[in-house]
């Protein structure tokens, strides 16, 4: 794994994502979550080791090829307020369109389906500048959906959202996983995420513990994640709280 200034941020990792599941990546700020996700999306090369998607090594893929396997949703606030919702979602078709980016009938249909799936079809002609944070993030998820990749990586997609939009987005992601997408999601909203997650990667001290949510609950791995900071995992509530 490559970190900032080429520091190794983790010990050797051997992780797998199963198709059609939602995996949540948890860990403290600065532990390397984003670096891991960047590496998985090909934004950054691994210092050593390999990442394979559907049995293919991403280092052997061009950017455009990789973009047909992985799509990304992140916190980065997009500035292009002058694009409509439909135009933004249709940008997700870029890895599939030709040199000029002209949309075929299929591209239009996929774009439309992605907007339907995220419940934003009625706002297709609105400029993204006029959207709320929640609506904007749903637009970006619809864009990732339109990219039609088996894997969708989301880097803290719910950071700017209020509780209602957070739950809304998580529920939508859960539904996408049930429909066959593989979803990897980093977040600090543990409670909301665990409601829909199938498995989890817990990252701390350069190590990652992985397993199904039930297994990790049983083994107490959630509890160990922030134990040194006096934070305990409340198994009944499915969320962290201050020890006391």
């Amino acid at each position: 794994m490559a970190g900032y200034s080429r520091r190794k941020v983790t010990a050797p990792l051997d992780l797998e994502l199963e198709g059609g599941t939602l995996t949540v990546l948890l860990g403290a700020n600065g532990c390397g979550k984003s670096t891991l996700l960047r590496t998985l999306c090909g934004n950054q090369r691994p210092m050593e080791g390999s990442v394979e998607i559907c049995g293919r090594d991403i280092r052997r893929m061009s950017g455009q090829e990789l973009a047909r396997y992985t799509s990304l949703v992140c916190t980065e606030r997009q500035m292009a307020g002058g694009l409509t919702v439909a135009e933004t979602v249709a940008l997700g078709r870029q890895p599939h369109t030709g040199f000029f980016g002209r949309l075929s009938a299929t591209d239009r249909r996929v774009t439309e389906e992605a907007m339907e799936a995220m419940g934003i079809a009625e706002m297709r002609d609105r400029h993204t500048a006029t959207l709320s944070d929640g609506e904007r993030q749903k637009t970006m998820i619809a864009r990732a959906l339109a990219q039609a990749t088996p894997l969708i990586v989301l880097d803290e997609p719910t950071s700017f959202l209020d509780v209602a939009s957070r739950l809304d987005v998580m529920a939508l992601l859960g539904r996408l996983a049930r429909d066959g997408k593989t979803i990897l999601l980093s977040t600090h909203d543990v409670g909301e995420a665990l409601c829909v997650a199938d498995s989890a990667w817990l990252m701390s001290d350069g190590r990652i513990e992985s397993g199904s949510v039930a297994e990790l609950r049983e083994s107490g791995a959630f509890g160990r994640l922030f134990a040194d900071r006096g934070i305990v995992f409340d198994s009944a509530a499915g969320d962290y709280r201050i020890q006391g």
Partner: protein, 338 residues
């Protein structure tokens, strides 16, 4: 392209054509419109002087203004997208001034007179080298400076440095040469005769056409680097290409017209305002049309005094600054249109 985008681009194109007509018709000598038309179409003109004025003075000036306006405006749009900064533009980032410094150096090397230099191959080469040097500095700084505002200030500083170098060079120029250079430095659309117009029209036309090939990755860049990369765009390469294309456009125009300010910064915003879109498939042609129109408008305004022609840079701030202030004062618009 959306319906509104298509209609508004069409209207902008019509406006540019009308302004082209006004530019050919209006001037210090009153020539009836019918005579102007006959002069252009090769018919009989009642006075030979009118024919000469229309075909050898007004037409080259109008075409220069058209290509300069379109070229600078599209260069501005490319810089705004490449640097993800709505206030970027060839003049504010010092690219025009850099080109101008290159021309000044060529002028000195060729004996201190700009008369034979403006629009010559030497001037084009000098402008390309100067603009290229400034852009190289900006690319280097953009790797270190992440804040868009700081990068703009850095660009302004580089521009000042180039200006200062130009002033120092002026010290070594001949008095006549210096006067010529100062006039050129204030911006002019009228120093290009027909014989040299191709040297402006060919590179500007070519690179404007080439710009249309970059529409798809430019749209991806609107979402920011990380998203663009995740959609398969080679961000570094596209950004580099955009900067080179905008540099060539700026340098070509600067070699003929001097460092013309504000058009590149303001016109993309006018185009966004008119089309209501940031999608480059709509915005880029609209910016080219609006740029041609604005260039022609400025050319018309420079011919308002009956004696002589005003410098272009006396006019462009009056057109550009209100647009920029409007964008800054309406923060929401800034967010909306980029």
């Amino acid at each position: 392209m959306s319906r509104r985008g298509a209609i508004s681009t069409g209207v902008t194109a019509v406006a540019a054509v009308v302004l082209l007509g006004v530019c050919l018709w209006h001037g210090s000598v009153d020539i009836p419109a019918g005579e102007v038309w006959r002069a252009l179409t090769g018919g009989d003109v009642s006075r030979e002087a009118w024919r000469v004025i229309v075909t050898e003075s007004r037409l080259p000036m109008a075409l220069t203004a058209l290509f300069a306006g379109a070229g600078l405006s599209v260069a501005g749009l490319q810089l705004q997208t490449a640097f993800d900064n709505p206030l970027a533009g060839p003049s504010i980032l010092g690219v025009s001034t850099g080109g101008s410094l290159g021309v000044a150096l060529v002028m000195l090397a060729m004996g201190g007179s700009v008369a034979g230099v403006g629009g010559s191959i030497g001037a084009i080469a000098g402008a390309l080298a100067g603009s290229g040097a400034v852009l190289a500095v900006l690319i280097g700084m953009s790797r270190v400076v992440k804040s868009g505002a700081m990068l703009l200030i850095a660009g302004i500083m580089v521009g000042y440095l180039a200006s200062s170098a130009i002033s120092l060079l002026g010290f070594f120029a001949t008095a006549r040469g210096l006067q010529g250079f100062v006039v050129w430095g204030l911006g002019t659309f009228s120093s290009t005769g027909f014989d040299r117009l191709w040297w402006l029209a060919a590179p500007v036309g070519l690179f404007l056409a080439a710009s249309m090939l970059l529409v798809k990755p430019m749209d991806a860049l609107l979402l920011g680097e990380r998203y663009a990369a995740s959609m398969g765009v080679n961000v570094r390469r596209i950004r580099g290409t955009l900067i080179v294309v905008s540099g060539v456009l700026t340098a070509s125009v600067t070699a003929f017209c001097g460092p013309v300010g504000f058009l590149g910064l303001a016109v993309p915003h006018i185009a966004r305002f008119v089309t209501g879109s940031s999608a480059h498939g709509t915005l880029l042609p609209a910016t080219a049309m609006a740029g041609a129109g604005t260039g022609l408008l400025c050319a018309v305004l420079t011919t308002i005094p009956t004696a002589g022609v005003l410098p272009v840079n006396a006019i462009t701030p009056m057109v550009g600054v209100p647009v920029i202030l409007y964008i800054i004062l309406c923060r929401r618009r800034l967010h909306y249109f980029n």
